[in-house]
Symmetry: C2
Subunit: 482 residues, 2 copies
Amino acid sequence: MSQQSASRITPRAEDYSRWYLDVIRQGDLAEPAEVVKGAMVIKPHGFAIWEKIQRALDDMFKETGHQNAYFPLLIPESFIKKEAEHVDGFSPELAVVTHAGGKELEEPYVIRPTSETIIGHFFQRWIESYRDLPLLINQWANVMRWELRTRMFLRTSEFLWQEGHTAHANHAEAKEEVQRMLRIYARFAEEWMAMPVICGEKTASERFAGALETYSIEAMMQDGKALQAGTSHDLGQNFGKAFDVTFQNEKGESEHVWQTSWGVSTRLIGGLIMTHSDDNGLVLPPKLAPVQVAIIPILAKNCDENQIFSACDKIQEELKAEGISAVCDKRDYKPGYKYHEWEQKGAPMRIEIGPRDLEKNQVMMKGRLEQEKTPLSMDNLRGKIQAYLDKYQTMLFERAKTRREESTINIDTYDEFKNVFAGQNSRFVYAHWDGSAETEAKIKEETKATIRCIPLDQPEEPGHCMISGAPTKKRVLFAKSY
Amino acid sequence: MSQQSASRITPRAEDYSRWYLDVIRQGDLAEPAEVVKGAMVIKPHGFAIWEKIQRALDDMFKETGHQNAYFPLLIPESFIKKEAEHVDGFSPELAVVTHAGGKELEEPYVIRPTSETIIGHFFQRWIESYRDLPLLINQWANVMRWELRTRMFLRTSEFLWQEGHTAHANHAEAKEEVQRMLRIYARFAEEWMAMPVICGEKTASERFAGALETYSIEAMMQDGKALQAGTSHDLGQNFGKAFDVTFQNEKGESEHVWQTSWGVSTRLIGGLIMTHSDDNGLVLPPKLAPVQVAIIPILAKNCDENQIFSACDKIQEELKAEGISAVCDKRDYKPGYKYHEWEQKGAPMRIEIGPRDLEKNQVMMKGRLEQEKTPLSMDNLRGKIQAYLDKYQTMLFERAKTRREESTINIDTYDEFKNVFAGQNSRFVYAHWDGSAETEAKIKEETKATIRCIPLDQPEEPGHCMISGAPTKKRVLFAKSY
């Protein structure tokens, strides 16, 4: 497949879904693995983003006392059935191993859709006393959920994620952990992904199968829809009881542990794309961009190629020493081709160096979102580039936040609410809801908007449910979602 | 399970296999996952070693131009059958997914035992021209091989590994890559794991299923047996032809690519254990030890606990700033219990600090392999500790190398050969072999020793096959193996 023939990116205004897939293709992030239903291949440029996400989150997990471990991919089918709500939630999506080593298995295994059950089994073996608590474990792994409708990064049959699993001696500590990890996810989303999020509690109907409470971070995509970008669950003693995970408390009595779990996945990359990218392709925050600076040598006729190349190499080395990842693109293509490619791959900045620039002791630089090139003197180039990247990171966050604010409204009547969500439209809408599952279901059915969360940081504001008129204490967040 | 009741480690001399499992249990590295046949759970202390292995190898792969990507876990069953030798080699060990999403699948999937086939499928889509070559990809992933006899780390039904997959425009470049990666594995084994290895070519009967040639690094364990610790394969055009991976060469003609693959796995941790550990538990080279220094506060009656703790914290901080990983063990256990635990977990050094030490501006230090404690003045403590760790790393390598040399012999007659391998015994034996599969099979059947490799760095030495008497050019390496 020639890169040029397929290089057009459908504009967002024309077809948002096509735009998303085009950005992924042209950014060389991933491609569908049609031979495996609903799966994808994460290509090097996409995987490099995931590696940066992993590194940053892993550091945050370790700073808060968590340790990584690795549990089996396969789970005995009977384990999934031990927690009643869990089996209802996950059974329809399971992939099942029935044969192995040339024989039919006595009991089939499922490929983990999530690991609460198998980890519950081991926690039961590892925990004896209050001294063993809290037990703070994280796992980076692949999981599988056989979904009917898939979309690259957002929902795939197999995906990569991390799943934290912790056990505590009492409910208060477990609840603290749930909030701690939710806030770490929010901080990561905002400081690294430059993606503003709203922290909140899910309604009962949107809870993780087996949890007492589920919290999430919700981000707004450019089409006004919400993306649930990370979740943190208070599992109470549900799995502790299902897998008989007990400990002796300080009084010598046996109690069931209190557990939490929390996870983010390669879905974050979908959120990254839909938060920042434009009709020219990928736009990446510098902290997660695999290539922060693309250096393009400009060869004029009769110029000394080696001189230009070595000037480019020198800058690359200098940037590398500063922790800035730069690529020196010496491939045998025309500069315009390279500009186009690095733009589509989301490099925050490109630098051009030709013979004239060398004479003037300068480079030409162009930011990913700028129209014009600017000359930059070579003096203290590193410092200027770092400052530019820092500013660019902040700017992307501010831009996304402004867009969200402009698309967020308070609504008090259901007629107005239905108007806002008519057709394909979505916004973030704060409205009053009476707390009943019936009202929630009616709204979802009639408008396709769902309660994204009951925001934690939203001030109390007494009002009345827009449907039932029942009195309420605060507004909740509605939107259509991915 | 109480730590103390099961804390005895069977001496090597008494039962080497039990010793190995005891070291793993007491080192808290892993445990069998009996509920999933042949699988294990890698516990935090074991996984931390794997993370260090990953980080070091990944840096080496990237320095040599490789990029990480991620391919699907599931492979259509038909893919495995496209390369004739490949299917013969792997079919008996496959785990098969026959149902997903509540339905029977039209074509079953296998869980990847290795990814040549699915990656071949994508290389076919990605490669068009000589400009796309070489394509240098690596994947960190879980794989599954349903083996009959398993042993933690050495052979488990599911294991973690990296698999490199590269495509080249000609055989010479592919062969260069095969050697480059073999030598990277050897360097990693020796410089990081402090585990001396022998680089060599496998005989035809020990080749990877589908390869033209397989190379390996072979290490000697403490029982004299060999561990194949990493392999690098010249796949020729076998998979290129099976998956029709072609490229246009510079003349515009279509050719099949030349491929390589290479991998190391969590088996390396088994090698690490059996190279260095002793009857007191784990011994780890500092470069891969999750905890390099265990700091133990010694609280005397009426002493100022906070003063001791803060002295310990200060040292930990200072070491951390130097890149030395230290744990300050303030748990409510007696010092002797902690000494024992950190010894079994392989911390290269322990430091004790009590009120008397503080008065004298010193700490007491004990290396993992030393009998006695030594006082160390606090002046330039960091420098002294780093110097100790460096020396310890070198010493472990030298010790292992000496042991290997003492257990390596040249043998010229088959009678002597059979004697060496009688019973459970093994050594590294260099002997002459006529190059025939028949002789190789006869030796294996009669002695259980196999040709580990045809060493690359062994000088030529004309001789005669110890069985057939046929003339030979150099000796090959025999041993019993894991």
